[in-house]
C-alpha cells in the first residue's frame, strides 16, 4: 500500500484518484463514516482483485467499506458529458456573487479590494485588514470606538456618510458598506472619540 506521505508530496492525487473497492487504510475516518451508513454484505474473493491496480473501474463492488466518499468512480453517476458541461455553477445566489469593496489605508500607495461575503463577522474582517495592511486595530467599544491604536476602520455607507466599522449589525453593514477606509492619525482620533 502506498504510504500517505508519498501522496501528500504529490499534487494531492489521492483526492482525485479513481478507485473502487478497498480504499486501503488511508481514509479511515471516511471509511468509518461510510460503513456506519452502509450495511453491505462482504463479498467473497474481492481482495485479490483490487491490489495495486489502481482500480479505475475494476471490481470490486462490495467490501466492508465502500470507496472513500471523496473518490470518484469512472462513469458514475451515469450522466452524459454534455450534461456535466452544462452544469456551470449557476448563479444560485443571483445578485450576491460577491460583495467587493475597495479598501484604502491612509498613507498606503494603492488600494485593495476585498469580498465582504467571505467573512462571517467583524472579527474576521478586522483580522483580515490587519494582515493585509500590516497594522493593528485597537479594541472596539461602543462608547469610545477604537482605542489603543492610531488606526480606525471606517466605511462609506449608502448615504455617502463615513461611519465607524462595528456600530451596526454585520448583515446591515454588509449591505450598506460601499467602501472601506482605514483612517490614521488625527483624523482618526476625531472619529474615534465617539461623536
Amino acid at each position: 500500500m502506498e504510504s500517505k506521505v508519498a501522496y501528500e508530496n504529490d499534487l494531492n492525487l489521492k483526492a482525485t484518484e479513481l478507485r473502487l473497492g478497498l480504499p486501503g487504510t488511508d481514509y479511515s475516518e471516511e471509511q468509518a463514516l461510510f460503513s456506519a451508513r452502509n450495511n453491505k454484505r462482504p463479498l467473497p474473493d474481492t481482495n485479490e482483485k483490487c491490489g495495486s491496480k489502481g482500480c479505475t473501474d475494476a471490481p470490486h463492488a462490495g467490501n466492508e467499506t465502500a470507496p472513500s466518499t471523496k473518490t470518484q468512480i469512472v462513469g458514475w453517476p451515469p450522466i452524459r458529458s454534455y450534461r456535466k458541461n452544462n452544469l456551470q455553477p449557476k448563479k444560485t445566489e443571483p445578485e450576491a456573487a460577491g460583495i467587493y469593496v475597495k479598501v484604502s489605508m491612509d498613507g498606503a500607495p494603492y488600494l485593495r479590494k476585498i469580498d465582504l461575503r467571505i467573512y462571517k463577522g467583524y472579527p474576521e474582517l478586522l483580522q483580515a485588514l490587519e494582515n493585509m495592511f500590516k497594522f493593528t486595530i485597537g479594541e472596539y467599544s461602543e462608547r469610545e470606538g477604537y482605542k489603543g491604536s492610531e488606526y480606525v476602520p471606517t466605511y462609506e455607507d449608502k448615504d455617502g456618510d463615513w461611519m465607524l466599522v462595528g456600530d451596526v449589525p454585520w448583515d446591515m453593514f454588509m449591505s450598506s458598506c460601499k467602501r472601506l477606509r482605514i483612517m490614521k492619525g488625527s483624523e482618526a482620533r476625531g472619529l474615534g472619540c465617539g461623536i
Binding site: L20, R37, N38, N39, K40, R41, L43, P44, D45, T46, K49, K53, G54, T56, D57, A58, P59, H60, A61, G62, A66, P67, T69, K70, Q72, I73, V74, G75, W76, P77, P78, I79, R80, S81, Y82, R83, K84, N86, L87, K90, K91, T92, P94
Partner: protein, 579 residues
C-alpha cells in the same frame, strides 16, 4: 370442405396476390417490428416486404454488414444506425473503439444515392464522412446526430453548403470539436427548406444576422433549438419569423435589461401559440420566466434540465402548463418543486430529474424520496421515470408503484453506490421487487442502491416484459445474474458494471444471448477463459473483450457480447480482442 384443404386454398389465394398489390399494402406498414414479422410469413412476402421497405433501423451497426443490408433492401431512403454500447456515454468505452460510419457511407453512395435521411446514435463520424455524404447524396434531407463523436463544425459546414434540400439538421449532445459558429453561415442565401434546426449543444457563437435571415427564409420551420449564446434580446427577432414553431429551444433566458425588452418578449411568445415543446432556458430567473406563461397552455413537453429553477419558480410556471405530459427538471427544484408537479400536472407521463451536483456527495440539496412520492400521488399516469437522488427507502418505492402501476420505464439512480434504505438500513431489494411485481408492463429498468441476489430473483421471475436492464454495483453472487438470464423472456439488452458476477453467470446465458441484442459486463469477475468458452460454444455471437491498461492478463475487464450475421469485426482496434 375439409378444413385442412380450406386452409391451404386460403393460403394459396393470399399469396397469388399480385406482388405490386402486396407491396402497396405493405408500404403502409411503418413499424419495423411489424415488417420483420411480415417478412417471416413466406418467401413472396419476404420479397414484397424488402422491396417496399424505405426505412431501415439497425440497432447495432456490427450486427450486420452494409453489403447484406443493401442486398436485402434495395429501395432504402432513410437509415437509422446505432453504434457503441450505451455505457460509452459514461466513458466506459475507450476512444477509437469503432462504429465508424464510413463503410456505411461508401455503400450508401453506391446503392442508395437517393438516400434522404440518416439518424446516427453513438457512431463515429468524421468531417470527411459528412462531406462525402453531402456530395454523394444530392437528395439528402435529414441528418440527426445524437451522442456521436469524431467530427467538428467543419463537417456541419459541409452539410450546410452542399445539401440543397436539407430539411433537418439535428445535432444533439455530441462530442464534437466545436471550432466556430461559422458553419451556420454556410447555408446559401437562397436556401429555404429547413424545417428542423437543433444546435442547442454547440458552444460557439453563430452569426446572429445569418441565423435571423435563415429563420425568416425557412417558412416551414417547425423545430428551432438554439444554443445558449443566443440572448433573450435576440430571441424575439427569431420568433417573429417562425410562427409555425412547434418545438422551441431557447438560448440564455437571462434578462440583461429588465424593463425594455420584456414586452417584446411577451409579444413574441404570444405569437407562438403552436408550441408543444419547450427547452433551453439556461440562466432563467424569476424575472424572465413569466414571459413564457401565455405560451405554456398547449405545452406537452417541458425540458428544464438546463435551467436551475428553484421550487417556487417551478410551481408558478407549472400552474400554466396543465397539458404537460413530459417534464425534465434539475434537482434544484427539490421536493417542494416536485410537490408542485404532483399538484399541477395530472396528465404527466414522463418525469426526469437530473442532478446538479452529481459528484458532490456532501450536498444536502436535491430531491429525496418525498418528492417522488408526491409526484406519484398527483400523476397517476406516470409511465417513464428517470430519478437521480441521494436517498431512498423501500417503503417509498412501494408506495410509488402502488400509485403508478403503469410504469414502462423505471430508472432509479441512488447516486452513492451500495446505499441501503436510509431509514431501515436494509438493502433496497424490496423496492425493486415491488416494481417488477406491480408494473407488469415494465420494459426498461435501471436499479441502484444496495441490492442482493434477491432483487434479481424477483426480476427474473416477474419482469415478463422487460427488455432493457441496467445494473451497477449490485448483487451478491453469480446466482443473481443467472436468475435474470433464466427469466425475463423478452430481455434484449443487459448492461452490467461492477457487480460480483463471474463466468458461471456469463455462461448461464448461452441459450439466451442469440435472442438478445447485446450484453455488456464491465468491472465484474469474468475471466478471459470464460469468454473464450462462450465464444467457442456460440459461434454466431461476437464475444469481444476490451482490455484495460495495466490489468491482469486473465481478467476480462470489459466484455461486450452481441449477435451478428456479419461475423467478427474487421475494424477492431488493438485493445478489442475478438474471441
Amino acid at each position: 370442405m375439409d378444413p385442412e384443404r380450406k386452409k391451404v386454398l386460403e393460403r394459396v389465394a393470399v399469396s397469388t396476390f399480385p406482388d405490386e398489390v402486396l407491396e402497396r399494402v405493405l408500404v403502409q406498414l411503418k413499424s419495423h417490428k411489424d415488417r420483420s414479422s411480415v417478412s417471416l410469413v413466406c418467401h413472396s412476402w419476404y420479397d414484397a416486404e424488402r422491396f417496399s421497405r424505405t426505412h431501415v433501423f439497425i440497432a447495432n451497426c456490427y450486427s450486420v454488414t452494409p453489403e447484406i443490408v443493401s442486398r436485402r433492401f434495395p429501395n432504402i431512403r432513410s437509415v437509422s444506425l446505432k453504434g457503441k454500447p450505451r455505457f460509452s456515454d459514461f466513458n466506459l468505452v475507450p476512444p477509437k473503439w469503432g462504429a465508424d460510419i464510413r463503410s456505411w457511407l461508401v455503400m450508401f453512395a453506391a446503392k442508395y444515392p437517393f438516400l434522404e435521411e440518416l439518424r446516427l446514435k453513438r457512431m463515429t463520424v468524421t468531417d470527411e464522412s459528412l462531406e462525402f455524404l453531402a456530395l454523394s447524396c444530392p437528395n439528402f434531407k435529414g441528418l440527426s446526430l445524437l451522442s456521436c463523436d469524431g467530427f467538428s463544425t467543419d463537417g456541419l459546414a459541409a452539410i450546410a453548403t452542399h445539401c440543397k434540400n436539407l430539411t433537418e439538421l439535428d445535432i444533439q449532445e455530441n462530442d464534437l470539436n466545436d471550432k466556430s459558429g461559422s458553419w451556420l453561415s454556410c447555408f446559401p442565401e437562397n436556401f429555404s427548406s429547413l424545417e428542423v434546426l437543433n444546435f442547442a449543444n454547440l458552444s460557439n457563437d453563430v452569426n446572429f444576422e445569418a441565423l435571423e435571415r435563415l429563420v425568416s427564409r425557412c417558412k416551414s420551420l417547425k423545430v428551432l433549438k438554439v444554443n445558449r449564446n443566443i440572448t433573450l434580446e435576440q430571441l424575439p427577432r427569431l420568433l417573429i419569423h417562425a410562427p409555425l414553431l412547434t418545438e422551441l429551444g431557447t438560448g440564455s433566458f437571462l434578462q440583461e435589461h429588465p424593463a425594455c425588452q420584456y414586452s417584446e418578449l411577451e409579444n413574441a411568445f404570444n405569437k407562438c401559440m403552436n408550441l408543444n415543446t419547450l427547452s433551453g432556458l439556461s440562466e432563467v430567473t424569476a424575472l424572465s420566466l413569466p414571459a413564457l406563461y401565455p405560451t405554456c397552455a398547449n405545452l406537452t413537453f417541458l425540458n428544464l434540465s438546463c435551467a436551475a429553477l428553484q421550487s417556487g419558480e417551478l410551481a408558478k410556471l407549472l400552474v400554466h402548463c396543465p397539458c404537460l405530459r413530459r417534464l425534465w427538471v434539475l434537482d434544484t427544484v427539490e421536493d417542494k418543486g416536485l410537490e408542485a408537479v404532483g399538484s399541477n400536472c395530472p396528465l404527466l407521463e414522463e418525469l426526469r430529474v437530473f442532478p446538479t451536483d452529481p459528484f458532490d456527495e456532501d450536498t444536502f440539496h436535491g430531491v429525496t424520496e418525498s418528492g417522488f412520492i408526491a409526484v406519484s400521488y398527483g400523476c397517476r399516469r406516470l409511465s417513464y421515470v428517470l430519478y437521480f437522488c441521494r436517498q431512498m427507502t423501500n417503503a417509498a418505492v412501494e408506495t410509488i408503484v402502488q400509485n403508478c402501476p403503469d410504469f414502462t420505464h423505471f430508472r432509479l439512480c441512488i447516486m452513492n453506490p451500495w446505499q441501503p434504505d436510509y431509514q431501515t438500513n436494509e438493502p433496497m431489494d424490496k423496492a425493486f421487487c415491488a416494481v417488477v411485481k406491480t408494473c407488469t408492463r415494465l420494459q426498461r429498468l435501471a436499479v441502484s442502491g444496495l441490492l442482493t441476489d434477491l432483487t434479481f430473483e424477483y426480476i427474473g421471475k416477474y419482469a415478463k416484459n422487460l427488455e432493457t436492464l441496467s445494473v451497477a454495483f449490485a448483487g451478491s453472487s453469480d446466482w443473481g445474474m443467472q436468475c435474470v438470464l433464466g427469466g425475463c423472456p423478452k430481455l434484449r439488452k443487459l448492461e452490467i458494471r461492477d457487480c460480483p458476477f463471474g463466468n458461471a453467470a456469463l455462461l448461464s446465458g448461452l441459450d439466451k444471448y442469440e435472442s438478445m441484442r447485446s450484453l455488456w459486463m464491465s468491472g465484474c469477475k469474468v475471466t478471459m477463459n470464460g469468454c473464450r468458452l462462450l465464444a467457442k460454444e456460440m459461434p454466431r455471437l461476437n464475444v469481444e473483450v476490451i482490455k484495460v491498461d495495466g490489468s491482469n492478463e486473465s481478467q476480462a475487464d470489459k466484455v461486450y457480447v452481441y449477435r451478428s450475421v456479419a461475423g467478427p469485426r474487421r475494424d477492431a482496434p488493438p485493445f478489442v480482442l475478438t474471441l
